[in-house]
């Protein structure tokens, strides 16, 4: 069935994946395709960015009509910063991994968040280096065992915690085996105006899928504890039964209006987490780390601060589209300037 743009779901596909059969990353690519199709994303306005690693190969496997940039290791954030500064109308979907973001790219990750570059930043987190065949990453869990490298004795880095501390305004964690939640969070992230971080635990079936490994399929399926149940209500959509009002909390339900007018409705589960509370979000993540809990969902959300384009006070026309007369001052301007140097 064609979507609002008259496109079929297959139009949103990319080329054939070359990842290992069963890779969690392929499942995420499929969710991106579904979400883009559902929302009717205009592919010419979408850019797909990535760094280096298994995860960073995946932009080739969805939305083949969009421009894509597979950059250097850990430095996709700077490409994103430059591209969105050049053209503020672009919708940026970036894919990175735990090595790309948590190790070589940690600095760029935190500075991107600090600048609030408008984009969806997906981390496909499997706690292991795949392409170089099974080394520990910075998000490998303490005590994790790997075939050649033994036991990891270093604490793991929580990239969601780093994001919240760094000033991110949309931070979520999910599990590639939970396609409904991944899709809902992706839709909400696409409606957010600043940097939206989604850290998706995405098992590596080749190097880190033993049942006792915290980022394996069996472990995830058994231990995932969603923080909420979600419903995403796209902009312009009126729910048949209820009237939508912004930002209301009623008992266990929280409804948040996104920047573009969409809503995300959360029903709190056992833990009662309110994602609008930064302190609570940090506590939840620290407790999860201490007690080895696999909590998923929207961890933190706040009203977006100005995005980088606004901080730079740029014109509304994308810089890349400015006509020549806006790019070069006049000859008179040069001549009077020269007089000031005489």
């Amino acid at each position: 069935m064609p979507n609002a743009l008259g496109l079929e779901r297959t139009d949103y596909k990319g080329s054939q994946s070359t990842l290992c059969p069963g890779c969690g990353h392929d499942s995420i690519s499929n969710q991106i395709i579904s979400v883009a199709y559902d929302l009717g994303l205009p592919m010419h306005r979408v850019i797909k960015l990535s760094g280096i690693g298994c995860s960073s190969k995946t932009p080739a496997y969805f939305m083949g009509r969009s421009h894509a940039f597979n950059a250097v290791h850990g430095r996709m954030p700077s490409i994103a910063t430059g591209a969105t500064t050049a053209n503020r109308d672009l919708m940026t979907i970036a894919v990175s991994g735990d090595g790309d973001t948590g190790s070589i790219g940690l600095g760029q990750y935190k500075h991107l968040i600090r600048r609030n570059v408008p984009m969806v930043y997906i981390i496909e987190n499997n706690g292991v280096y795949g392409l170089t065949k099974g080394q520990f990453s910075a998000t490998s869990d303490e005590g994790q065992k790997l075939k050649y490298y033994g036991v990891n004795e270093l604490p793991s880095l929580d990239l969601c915690l780093e994001a919240i501390i760094g000033g991110a305004t949309f931070v979520a964690r999910s599990f590639s085996g939970d396609s409904k939640q991944v899709q809902t969070l992706l839709k909400a992230a696409l409606s957010h105006s600043g940097t939206a971080i989604i850290d998706i635990i995405s098992p590596c079936v080749t190097f880190n899928n033993a049942p006792d490994a915290n980022k394996s399929y069996p472990y995830g399926k058994e231990h995932e504890q969603p923080l909420h149940e979600y419903e995403f209500i796209p902009v312009g959509y009126v729910h048949p039964r209820e009237e939508i009002t912004a930002d209301y909390s009623e008992g266990d339900t929280i409804q948040v209006e996104m920047h573009d007018g969409s809503f995300i409705r959360l029903k709190k589960l056992d833990n009662g987490h309110d994602p609008r509370n930064r302190r609570q979000a940090i506590d939840v993540l620290e407790r999860a780390q201490q007690e080895q809990l696999f909590l998923t969902g929207l961890l933190y959300y706040e009203e977006p601060r100005p995005i980088l384009n606004e901080t730079l006070r740029l014109v509304d026309t994308p810089l890349a589209m400015l006509p020549d007369e806006k790019l070069r001052p006049s000859q008179d301007a040069l001549e009077s300037l020269m007089k000031s140097f005489m």
Binding site: S15, M43, H44, R45, I47, L49, P59, A60, G64, R65, S66, H67, A68, F69, N70, A71, V72, R75, P77, S78, I79, A80, T81, G82, A83, T84, T85, A86, N87, D89, L90, G107, Q108, H111, R115, L308, N309, L312, R313, L314, V315, D316, P318, L319, A320, M321, L322, D324, K326, L327, R328, P329, Q331, A333, L334, E335, L337, M338, F341, M342
Partner: protein
């Protein structure tokens, strides 16, 4: 106080030296001497005397020694002079050595407060009461230390013939017309000049006399010129990380981006992002260039090192961006505040694998302006990173120049297809492949993100790719792509600024050089000619080189390659590029931390010719 300053009586016993000597001011860094030195330069400029200034400063905020040399040259030579006849020794830590370095007949202006006495009998001393003069000028306490340097301005004005009114004007120029600081400084300078008139008898031969050689000219630094050139070249994204001596390029962009501010909304058309490091700065440029912006950064050697990997991506994925390298001494941190041309070879082949970069080599502030806009055009035309190698001497020192020429061509965007031209392209070719050579010049056609056409998108990658931008590990695809990149590099030879050649077939000796050595070479050639050594001169303005350079090098009996690095890097490139033996080529490379001088060139060529 009413002053009536009289022109200094001429020295009776010696022949006067007019407008052809250098004055060196030794102070402590951060002591405010920059203002005083600028006032002296601007005074000479206002008197119509060709003047140049060289700041030799430490890598330090405050306290370490700094030397500023001001050269007046009635013949218009603006290179550093090997000898400075006059020393203002206001730094007690270096004064002994500064005095020692004066030539016989030189002049030393020294604070009387130190009570140093006069150790040399073959120079002229003028001892001046610095503290008393400042105290008497009734300057607020917090300004006294910094303003003390105006004492030597006043004394020099009196001794060497600068009218106090010119000093006042120069102060207003220096303070951009702000009366209050200008007049506070002027009060001290005027008092010092009056004291000198009443208490000093001129015993030296040096005098400035008004000329008409600076009318219509400008004074500017190379880095400001680079910034202005970029702004007139349509710069839209500048990303950078602070590093000496390049920082003032971006300061210049910040100072002048108002020329491009939208008059109706007050919003900016130039984005300036201070990155977290040079890795990110070049990444932002590449992201911006890929998305259709005109992107530029400025950095120096250590930053270039950090940019090496990303540069390879931009070269291979064919993304435009411009990198200014304001070169300083390396290797490593080296000497951050000393000049060098030592990054040339590194830039030429920057990044791993088989890479070849385009490097522009400006030699004057006018060329910094011109290459500022031209580099952005070339980057778009060639779809590749374009480097511009300036250096600390050209970038941070103040230079005399003709006013800059407005760009003589419209902004060049290269082979970028928008929605309409992409449709036309399909109509003509039945296809569009991002990396296919349709025109035989090696330059492919690109689209930018946001182009509203279902077939505009393509996948950009640093990995092996086909002409259609799909991933490929096939060796045929690899070789075809590299062959095309080589063809593109050959096209670059015809598009980059061509060498400037001064050639007379009767002359058997050729000089090859580039960049900021130019003023020293101009002066050296005059002096060599006067000594009977006639030379031709080719100034390289860009890499890759072209046939004219090869012909010049092979077409002389003797060729001297003059450059300011330790290893003779351009000579190495010539040896690498020219497929015949170059035993007649002599590499003269200085690389001693200071700007090139005519004296050094003359000495070396004369000694070679006498062999």
């Amino acid at each position: 106080m009413v002053l009536e300053l009289q022109p200094q009586a001429q020295s009776p016993q010696r022949e006067q030296v007019i407008n052809d000597f250098a004055l060196m001011v030794a102070t402590k860094n951060g002591s405010g001497s920059q203002t005083s030195n600028e006032v002296l330069i601007r005074s000479l400029f206002r008197m119509g005397i060709p003047v140049s200034g060289k700041n030799l400063f430490p890598s330090n905020i405050k306290g370490l020694p700094t030397w500023y040399t001001i050269r007046a040259s009635r013949d218009g030579y603006v290179a550093r002079s090997e000898v400075t006849e006059i020393a203002v020794t206001f730094n007690e830590l270096t004064a002994a050595e500064d005095i020692q370095n004066l030539p016989p007949g030189g002049v030393c202006i020294i604070p009387a407060d130190w009570k140093w006495g006069q150790s040399r009998t073959d120079i002229v001393y003028y001892e001046v009461p610095v503290k008393e003069t400042v105290a008497a000028a009734n300057v607020p306490q917090e300004f006294r230390d910094r303003i003390a340097n105006m004492v030597y301005v006043g004394v020099c004005a009196h001794l060497f013939g600068i009218s106090i009114d010119i000093v006042r004007q120069a102060l207003l120029d220096t303070f951009n017309g702000k009366e209050k600081p200008a007049m506070m400084n002027f009060g001290v300078a005027e008092r010092a000049a009056l004291w000198a008139q009443e208490n000093l008898t001129k015993r030296d031969p040096f005098l400035f006399e008004p000329m008409d050689k600076t009318a219509g000219k400008i004074l500017i630094t190379g880095n400001e010129a680079a910034a202005l050139g970029s702004i007139f070249g349509g710069l839209t994204v500048a990303a950078w990380y602070p590093i000496t001596p390049s920082t003032s390029v971006i300061d210049g962009v910040l100072d002048y981006k108002h020329l491009r501010t939208d008059p109706e909304t007050g919003k900016e058309t130039v984005a300036v992002v201070q990155a977290e490091d040079e890795l990110a700065a070049i990444g932002m440029l590449i992201g911006a260039g890929w998305a259709g912006a005109r992107a530029m950064t400025s950095t120096s050697g250590p930053g270039i090192s950090l940019m090496a990997e990303f540069t390879g991506l931009a070269y291979f994925a064919e993304i435009p961006c411009v990198v200014w390298d304001i070169a300083r001494m390396g290797p490593s941190t080296g000497l951050p505040t000393r000049t060098s041309q030592g990054d040339l070879l590194f830039l030429y082949v920057l990044s791993h694998g088989d890479t070849r970069q385009v490097v522009l080599l400006p030699s004057s502030v006018a060329e910094c302006f011109e290459f500022g806009w031209r580099a952005l055009d070339l980057a778009d035309q060639l779809q590749t990173p374009v480097f511009v190698m300036s250096d600390l001497d050209l970038g941070m020192n103040i230079w005399l120049s003709e006013p800059f020429q407005y760009p003589d061509q419209p902004i060049q965007h290269g082979k970028t297809l928008d929605k309409i031209s992409l449709e036309e392209f399909f109509a003509e070719h039945n296809e569009w492949a991002r990396y296919r050579d349709y025109d035989g010049d090696g330059i492919p056609y690109r689209t930018v993100p946001g182009t509203d056409h279902p077939r505009a998108g393509y996948f950009t990658r640093g990995t092996g790719h086909t002409e259609s931008a799909t991933y490929s590990e096939r060796r045929e695809d690899w070789v075809r792509n590299m062959d095309r990149l080589r063809r593109k590099y050959d096209t670059a030879r015809t598009l980059v600024p061509q060498p400037v050649i001064n050639f007379d077939p009767s002359k058997k000796i050729g000089i090859v050089s580039y960049g900021s050595n130019d003023p020293a070479i101009i002066e050296a050639r005059d002096r060599l000619a006067a000594a009977g050594i006639q030379t031709n001169y080719l100034r390289i303005r860009a890499l890759p080189l072209n046939q004219e350079v090869y012909d010049f090098v092979t077409g002389h009996e003797k060729v001297y390659v003059i450059e300011n690095n330790f290893d003779g890097q351009m000579a190495q490139i010539l040896n690498m590029e020219i497929s015949q033996s170059l035993t007649h080529m002599v590499s003269l490379s200085l690389g001693d931390t200071l700007p090139m001088t005519a004296q050094w060139i003359v000495d070396n060529i004369v000694s070679q010719e006498n062999k």
